[in-house]
């Protein structure tokens, strides 16, 4: 255990070359599994997709060689789904943020002895399949559930919740809320409470304390949570298909259509690459924007 505190570099000495070789080899060995995993399961498939995106569609579908930029032209031309996906991911992330922040703050500061119980209550539904929970919403929001109830109450028999953007947002926020809560909760919990007391002593009201002390300290958690929610939301397909009846046409629907129905792999691959680029740009911009003027980069432990 004492070796943990030896974060200092190796001492200068006669046996430095030998030591760095051994530690170099050891490092390489330790990194090998993760690197292999990344190479095989991330870099290689990505490379294949990029390769496909320049190809041409085979006669019966699939990929047949070739080099053409038509796919990218098509992807940029019919860019409706990209815009809709961006809007939905954006809206979903903001909603999750607005809901998660008070909840995490409450559990972290006012939870007291019930803290672990509340966390368990949040975590347990997360272990059940996402698909099953989405199907449950089908019954709840369907004509035999809430929609039927409201329909009868207002005398409008064809009132419908399913198949509207509202249903999609509901399903999406429901599914991704825990992903937003946990990073925020973790940073809030580790926050030094005495800072808040000090701010109160100095005369700041509760809202000012929150805005100027709590929020900046928990910003890393907010960033992590937003990224955790935004990225999957961009490619979300299941909830819009089940709860939204595919009436809102998103990138996910677009890709499924290309790969499973039209069987035009090069087109689908081009759209996938464009999606990845959009997300990369958005995330980089977001991180840069949130970290302006901050000297110390805190990395949230999740």
């Amino acid at each position: 255990m004492a070796s943990l505190t030896e974060a200092a570099p190796a001492p200068a000495g006669a046996d430095r070359p030998r030591r760095s070789f051994r530690s170099g080899a050891l490092t390489a060995l330790l990194l090998a599994p993760a690197s292999l995993w990344y190479l095989l399961l991330l870099v290689a498939p990505l490379g294949i997709i990029v390769l496909f995106s320049f190809g041409e569609r085979g006669k019966n579908g699939g990929y047949a060689g070739g080099f053409t930029l038509d796919n990218y032209a098509g992807a940029l031309e019919r860019n409706g789904p990209f815009v809709t996906s961006l809007l939905m991911a954006f809206g979903g992330t903001i909603l999750c943020l607005l809901l998660a922040l008070p909840l995490a703050y409450f559990i972290a500061t006012r939870g007291g002895s019930k803290k672990s119980l509340l966390i368990v209550l949040l975590v347990v539904p997360f272990w059940t399949s996402f698909l099953i929970r989405t199907y449950a919403w089908l019954t709840i929001l369907g004509p035999e559930g809430i929609a039927g109830f409201i329909g009868d109450a207002t005398g409008n028999p064809s009132f419908r919740i399913l198949g509207t953007p509202f249903a999609i947002l509901l399903g999406v926020v429901y599914g991704y809320l825990p992903l937003m809560i946990f990073p925020i909760y973790v940073t809030m919990e580790r926050m030094d409470r005495t800072l808040m007391e000090a701010s109160k002593d100095l005369g700041a009201g509760r809202w000012a304390t929150f805005r100027q002390i709590t929020l900046p300290i928990t910003l890393p958690g907010l960033i992590t949570g937003s990224i955790l929610v935004f990225i999957p939301l961009m490619g979300e397909y299941v909830v819009p298909a089940i709860l939204g009846y595919s009436r809102v046409f998103l990138i996910g629907n677009q890709l499924v259509l290309q790969f499973l129905e039209a069987r035009d792999w090069p087109q689908g691959a081009a759209k996938a690459v464009v999606l990845i680029l959009i997300m990369l740009v958005s995330i980089i911009f977001y991180i840069w924007f949130s970290n302006r003027g901050r000297k110390v980069r805190e990395v949230s432990v999740l």
Binding site: N60, R78, V120, W127, L260, V301
Partner: protein
Amino acid sequence: MADQDLDQMLRRMAQTKVSRRGFLWASGLSASAAVLAACGPGSSSSASPAATTAPSVSAGTGGSASASPSAAAAVEVEKDLFMYNWGDYVDPENIEAFKQQFGVETFTYDTYASNEEMMAKFQGGAKGQWDLVAPTAEFVPAMVEQGFIQKIDWSKIPNAKYIEAPFKGLWWDPKDEYQLPKDWGTTGISVRTKVVKEEVKTWKQFFEVAPKYSGRIVIVDSPGDVFVAPLKALGYSLNSVDPTELGKARELLMGLAPHVLALDSDQYNTKIETEEAVLGLTWTGGILELRDKPETADVQYYIPEDGTLFWLDTWAIPAEPPHPEAAHAFLNFIQEPEVQAKETMTNQYATCNSEAKKFIDPAMLNDPAIFVPDDVLAKLEGAQDVSTDPLRLQIWEEFKSNIG
């Protein structure tokens, strides 16, 4: 700063003693976690056999399927069968009977919702994964060309002799080597007549009436079926790839798109039943049985008078099946007249088996929606595989992105 925290945390962990209560609490929590995680859905394969074994077990031994098994039962049949089929397309009681008769223990039923999806899976490399598949007839040539299905050994399927002559030697399989006809049907208009008062007996009327019931129209998620409506309404062939004709069809489709509730091949009958949808471009599966229920007796299915598609679904054996004997045994079993009759009565699609008709309820034999009379049948058009035509695909994509 985060490193220091981590440091301190690890130190504390190393020095704390775990109390017995703490250990029991933690392991209890992780055990319940494991149980909950395992309670998630298995793959469709583990879920479906559970569903298919639900109906009464007595039907397996005592019911109609106990007709004397043909000589094929003497062959050594494997213990498993993997089927890839449309959803709810084989009577669960027949599956049970098959398992009992041939000693098959695992019957896996994976599903797809469209021929395109099925083709995409095979193209992605699914050899050796299934023993049986049920493509619609016009997709068989493409599957043969790409080596997805293999020839059927007819010596193991003596019951194939019951298949009626009109279904043999057709363009998709001129020598009848690769497929065994399963059932046939039409694509037509389903209506809740108590809500829709207008007459909707032609595709032309379908398009005219649609805007009035905006948001309550359900359509099957299949490009081959959906193109039938505008092309027939305009009087063209439903297999047309002519740009002018498709252009006009596109206009009709774009006009329809905002009024569509959903594109759904699995649950369109549920939507019609609950009145979420009152008008539909559908098949007959699940719709016709609604006519017998009092709450939904107003449901009607019309074969459009300006013409429509008549389709044939077939059984095929994929290349390199893991259990070829079981596959052939099943194909012979399913064409056993009484078994086939049960299939017809459950699925409500017409059979190609002449012997089976003797065991089918006469009311169903005379139902024009299922057993289409010859004069109407003569006016229906069969399908060609035009699923890869780029203009069609483009229009389909545009249509899908504009619904709702």
